[in-house]
Symmetry: C2
Subunit: 198 residues, 2 copies
DNA sequence: TCCGGAAACTAACGTACCTTCGTTTCCAGC
DNA sequence: GCTGGAAACGAAGGTACGTTAGTTTCCGGA
């Protein structure tokens, strides 16, 4: 046997990403092995190397792509919002929650597999994440300057908000008691109540 | 060579726990290997088996012990607080934040290594964690009944609060810009502002 | 002081993992 | 219709891991 009828490079590469996402999310990167990954894709372990340089590179590529999508879609959401600060803040929060529900596997991996990366890749990902956090801090600062927000400590508040909003991807499952729109609404109010001027 | 001068069972067992905590926190359970663990303790890999039944049991024992400490110290903090609901709620939040700063390694592991456990151990730990979460939900319900809190959804709110408060153990380091007391204060206000009746 | 067991050592077993190699078959552009 | 490269295969190399076995030395209670 050799090349299989109907095989296609792009399709297999995508299947590998999808399978890796599922397995890393379920077991963690270190616990995932390439035999299981190949089996999930439906090919032999050695065939993986036609599409990826190695196990490590697979993870860092996936994480970098994820961070870029997160940053780009965040910018799009902010651009689509009105110019008023509170509109942009609501857009940021709403987008964050929605994104974390819809791509909770990518998010979970990006948050908790940083330590599995080689130092160079980690530095790149951390830089992207810092940029994301800085975006929220900028909005908070703006709100304070405008007198619309009351924030004791920008940095701690931003971290606390992000932790709260990110938490949803540890328990949310589609088809649960509450729908996405309701959860976005609930989290937006919880987050804003914590900082809104009274 | 054989038994080393000055060796002591209890001391070595404690050193193993301490070293495992450090290594699992840094690399994850699956990525930690017993050779590195033994080296960190200063003994040979096989000597570990004088103190632990195996790698898997080490993790589940550590996690169970951690959850019991968390639950017990929470009860103590609640008992020490005044009878008023808001006092107990503040005690819960303050204790949670402080505990998560002081034992951030244990907490981090307990939160993110659940998937590394065998199903039976995982069920035990999850049950303990559910009890902890239920404790907070109980306080929120009480507050709503008393008219002191405004909570749209008890369950989601409790999860959001816990995520926010737990987030501190991902970035807090002793000796940072803010002290423990300040961080407890900041987080308490952020959490309460989100739910307090206005 | 003596002795049983605790606690360490060295050596090694079997497995499982990531990766490489060489080969074979299929697809696509000319 | 040919042909070069893409994409799969089977087999295996080399390492690292968890764990066991057997042995040796030290501690602490009688």
């Amino acid at each position: 046997m050799a090349r299989i009828t109907g095989s296609n490079g792009a399709r297999t590469a995508a299947a590998i990403r999808r399978a890796a996402l599922k397995l890393i999310y379920r077991q963690g990167f270190a616990a995932m092995n390439l035999r299981d990954l190949a089996a999930e894709v439906g090919i032999q372990p050695s065939s993986l190397y036609n599409h990826i340089p190695g196990k490590q590179a697979l993870l860092s590529d996936m994480m970098r792509e994820h961070m870029e999508v997160l940053l780009d879609s965040t910018e799009a959401a902010l651009a689509a919002a009105g110019p008023a600060l509170m509109d942009r803040l609501r857009a940021f929060i709403g987008h964050h929650v929605l994104y974390h529900m819809e791509r909770r596997q990518e998010v979970y991996i990006a948050n908790f597999e940083l330590r599995a990366l080689d130092p160079a890749s980690r530095a790149r990902i951390v830089a992207l994440r810092n940029g994301y956090e800085a975006r929220l801090m900028g909005l908070l600062e703006e709100g304070v300057a405008l007198g619309e927000l009351e924030v004791a400590d920008i940095r701690v508040t931003a971290f606390a908000m992000l932790a709260m909003l990110t938490g949803i991807c540890t328990w949310y499952r589609p088809g649960g008691r509450l729908g996405k729109a309701e959860l976005v609404q609930l989290h937006t109010e919880l987050a804003l109540n914590g900082i809104r001027r009274r």
